[in-house]
Amino acid sequence: MSNPAVIIETEGLKKIYRVGDVDVPALRGVSLTVPRGEFLAIVGPSGSGKSTLFHILGGLASPTSGRVTIDGEDLTKLSDADRTNLRRRKVGFVFQKYNLLPTLTAIDNIRIAQHFGRNREALSPQFHSLLKELGIHHRLHHKPRAMSGGEQQRVAIARALVNNPAILLADEPTGNLDTENSEIVLHLLRDLNQKIGQTILMITHNPEAAAYAHRTVHMRDGKLVD
């Protein structure tokens, strides 16, 4: 049933949060198909449900109803443990606030992602050349506090890719960066997509950032529009 050319498929995806006694719908039926190797931007104002979609696609939350398939795997009926497993194997996260572990050096941040990904192999030569392309190979033994925001975000990208995930999910990856560093990061994401065919889903509210993607979809009030 799964089409190997399609990496993400959602159908009628709904998510309702219960806040006190009130049901708050965050997603009201999202149907989205992402082909393998696409760089997709999801654009929308805050509260439009894009973060919720991001969490569900990343296996951090489960949908209330609807269907979602990632790399041929149906997420709808997964237990918490199965979703943890999915995060390990299929998803790499990049966050607005970098989210590096402050007590570990850059290289150890990457290694701990490897550890939790149950990836016991040594870093490959390809990964080392990726570190060079990201321009962080000489900063690997520094802790996050000694690095600029741009450097931290590039370490976070390397960390997200170390286990060769099926999809890279980036939530406002340039939200905390200045224009120059934003451009560097966006160029890198586009290069990764072009050179290694990495599927990338980027959430942003910045149309300039979205312009780097192949395709942009817009979200509003928990639905995809246009």
């Binding site: 939350a61 989210n99 149950r118």
Partner: protein, 364 residues
């Protein structure tokens, strides 16, 4: 890799880590010092009992073997003991409590020397009057007393006439007669020591004494000193258990609080770990390893502190308390520190493990 994370986490908040480890250290020291003092006091009692050089120890009916007895044995019994076969010397003593666990011992000096041999005087000499006092070197050092000084015991002033080497029977000796009169036990003693021609005759002499003195406690010195163990001191075992219980509570609270604040502070990091694919058991493992490392560091600190406590006790108040290092209790103390710490880590650990990843990532 997890070990590096654990180590870096502990290093990240150095002061908190050091204070927590020290608290666990004090918990460990508390246990080891109480055990060390119990053991030290008992060993000292044993060596002083052996130091008398007697073969048989006799106590009148009633009272347990090593608690202080009432003086209920007629002094004349000494003559009776002396007449028994194989007995070469007999001496009676009167032991009176003078507050706390300290005692003063009344002896008939000649009688005692005939059994135990002469005292080794470091200064001064034997009793010359009824109000003379012989003290041992530990007591002299601790109370800073020298020959000629006055010491008040049970509202009676004594003059220090001699300072002797420690290790024979008691720390404070006064003339038997004086102590008997002052305590209203004229003509009475609380225990007797016998010396035999040959130690091999001990059993047969005890057997024949028991024929006429069925109610008396009559023991060989080795049997007597074997009673100096933790189980025979009323309340001591219970006291040690109470200290262990308190230590566990302290360890539990300290580690509980430390790990709780540490988990709260790292809410966001726990979210990151989960996004990276850490399962709840993975997160729990990190907390448990941090706790174990804290407990181990605390244990090492505790052993170091115990040596310090030991040196202080023996250096400053050796006449009242003696302490020894009891290495056999080190593993037990480690076990107690680990158990208490793990108990303290249960709630913070589970809280971290169950932390919702999305909420944790949104945590500022």
């Amino acid at each position: 890799m997890i070990n590096r994370l654990v180590l870096e986490n502990l290093k990240h908040r150095k002061l908190r880590t050091i204070l927590s480890a020290l608290s666990i250290g004090f918990q460990v020291t508390m246990i080891l010092t109480v055990v060390g003092i119990s053991r030290g006091m008992l060993e000292d009692s044993v060596s002083r009992a052996r130091g008398v050089g007697a073969d048989i120890w006799i106590k009148p009916p009633g009272a347990s073997a090593i608690s202080l007895s009432n003086a209920s044995m007629p002094e004349k019994m000494i003559d009776y003991f002396r007449k028994q076969d194989h007995v070469t010397a007999a001496a009676g003593t009167l032991v009176v409590a003078i507050g706390g666990i300290s005692t003063v011992t009344g002896i008939d000096l000649e009688q005692f020397i005939s059994l135990s041999g002469p005292f080794k005087y470091l200064s001064g000499g034997p009793f010359t009057g009824p109000d003379d006092l012989i003290i041992d070197e530990w007591y002299a050092n601790q109370s800073k007393k020298k020959v000629g000084d006055t010491v008040s015991i049970l509202n009676h002033d004594y003059r220090v006439c001699g300072i002797v080497e420690a290790g024979k029977l008691a720390r404070l000796f006064v003339p038997l007669r004086t102590l008997q009169d002052l305590t209203g036990s004229t003509g009475k003693i609380s225990q007797a020591y016998l010396k035999l021609d040959r130690p091999e005759n001990t059993t047969s002499v005890i057997d024949s004494l028991k024929v006429n003195l069925a109610d008396y406690t009559i023991l060989s010195i080795e049997e007597f000193v074997s009673m100096f163990n933790v189980n025979n001191i009323p309340g001591l075992q219970a006291f040690i258990y109470v200290i262990i219980g308190l230590s566990i509570v302290i360890g539990f609270l300290v580690v509980g609080l430390t790990m709780y604040t540490s988990v709260l502070e790292r809410t966001r990091e726990i979210g990151i770990l989960k996004a990276l694919g850490a399962s709840p058991p993975d997160v729990l493992t990190i907390i448990v390893r941090e706790t174990l490392l804290l407990a181990f560091a605390g244990w090492l600190a505790g052993i170091a502190l115990t040596f310090a406590a030991n040196a202080l006790i023996n250096g400053l108040i050796r006449a009242n308390l003696q302490s020894v290092i009891v290495t056999g209790w080190w593993p037990i103390a480690l076990l107690i520190a680990v158990v208490a710490s793990l108990l303290g880590a249960i709630y913070p650990g589970l809280r971290a493990a169950r932390q919702d990843a999305i909420e944790a990532l949104a945590y500022e």
